[in-house]
Amino acid sequence: MSDEIKVKMTDVHKTFGKKVVLDGVTLEVKKGESLVIIGGSGTGKSVTIKCIQGLLTPDSGSIRVDGEEIVGLSAREMERINAQTGMLFQGAALFDSLNIWENVAFGLIQGKKMKRAEAKEIAIKKLAQVGLDADVGMLYPDEVSGGMKKRVGLARAIAADPELIFFDEPTTGLDPIMSDVINDLIRSCVKDLGATGITITHDMSSVRKIADKVAMLYKGKIIWYGDVAEIDRSGNPYVEQFINGRADGPIQMEIRG
């Protein structure tokens, strides 16, 4: 891990109508570091990473990737930034019309203009890296299980050897054993590539396995940031309530009757 900053967010605000989702998020991730953003549903975790990827434009604030300001970049310029990133989506977001190897090789063929045969070879290697046989490559997404879809999504995220990888709720909907397998794969893939990882999750076993640093989002603000080793003695009542999964505490769920 170096001291160089890979991603830096400064005072980022984002609202949808009257709902304030990000309320001055300030955050930085060093190169090679794995940051996990935790927080309850609707606290702005997904919006945070979508802003970094250029899928959403913040209302104000600055986001820098490798020192380059990305807020206000054109779609074409964002394509250049995104060429160095990978993303594992919550539901894997595999393309139904393409088979598994074509899904994994998609960024290589369309984004990097690689020849299909060459891209297929890399896709098969990446599938092997996440523990899937070459035969799986010929199947279509609706023919594989949820856990396998996540692995394929992970293979697609690392196919182009990205410098920055995003993981959106990587273990949601998986059984505990498969969750652990995915966590191990994420850890090893990020380490092998020497990439920077930004994960959003509310699964504490993922946090403990994947994270170097943890940030907690609450009502659109970062209310705690620190090493994963410090999370159990954070002294922050919000963090304590969240990691222990208690209903009582300062975080009150908004339940409309």
Partner: protein, 257 residues
């Protein structure tokens, strides 16, 4: 409660939709002439729109031609003008019914499918995945569909015209005992270049409308399965209405004196 508030809200939503559709249209057209071009996707869309719509367009125009022959005969025979039936069939099929019916059939078959496919891609984050894989979703998803619609609908209409005229021929020759040579000669002699040109122009415009509305409604669908259902309905309803309105405007353009 202000009774004008709901009216104002509806009006503002309408203006917002018009603005968004205008931006979508301009964006789509501008990307049509800017690389990269996805020829593989374009070809598969041409097959989907052109080849697979052929049976439904053929059946519709065939029976329409047959009905026009019967109706015009029953009206014109009382004026002893049966000889005009061939020209009525030719004129109605090539100028109006061919393009309009083919477009309405394609709107129901292809426009709805496009809205459903893109809508599902939107709600399952596949469109976001394209962006993160450095692929512009407009260029990859929208442009090939629009180009395929503009190219294939005129071809479908041309085939539909021939089949529609043949439908009229079948009724006139085998049911109404017309002379086949005279019927064909009347059809040929009465046919003008403007009949075909106006029909093809209308078809290209309708192809653009059907694919644009299918892509637009799918691209911006939200709210899960219900949202995809709404997008599909909106695509078919909006394209059907726009086809009928633009048909009148194009007819004015070509034939008003």
């Amino acid at each position: 409660m202000n009774i004008f508030a709901p009216v104002g809200r509806v009006f503002l939503n309408f203006l917002r939709s018009v603005g968004r559709l205008t931006i979508f249209t301009v964006k789509s057209l501008s990307f049509c002439v800017r690389p990269p071009f996805y020829f593989r996707t374009l070809f598969s869309q041409m097959v989907e729109i052109g080849f697979y719509s052929l049976p439904v367009v053929a059946l519709t125009t065939m029976f329409s031609g047959m009905v026009i022959a019967l109706q015009s005969y029953s009206g014109l025979s009382s004026l002893s003008s049966e000889g005009v039936v061939a020209s009525v069939v030719e004129l109605t099929v090539t100028r109006e019914l061919g393009p309009v019916l083919a477009a309405l059939m394609v709107a129901g078959r292809v426009g709805a499918a496009m809205a459903a496919e893109l809508g599902t891609m939107r709600v399952t984050e596949q469109i976001d995945a394209l962006t993160t894989l450095s692929t512009n979703p407009f260029k990859y998803l929208v442009v090939p569909r629009i180009l395929a619609g503009i190219v294939m609908l005129p071809i479908l209409v041309l085939i539909g015209d021939v089949i529609g005229i043949y439908g009229g021929y079948l009724i006139c020759i085998y049911k109404l005992d017309f002379n086949a040579v005279n019927y064909l000669r009347n059809t040929w002699n009465f046919m003008q270049a403007v009949d075909i040109v106006s029909g093809m122009t209308k078809a290209a415009v309708f192809g653009f409308i059907v694919t644009l509305m299918g892509c637009y409604n799918g691209f911006y669908s939200k709210g899960g399965a219900e949202g995809v259902g709404k997008a599909t309905t909106n695509a078919v309803v909006a394209s059907s209405i726009l086809i009928l309105i633009s048909n009148y405007m194009l007819t004015e353009l070509f034939f008003s004196k």
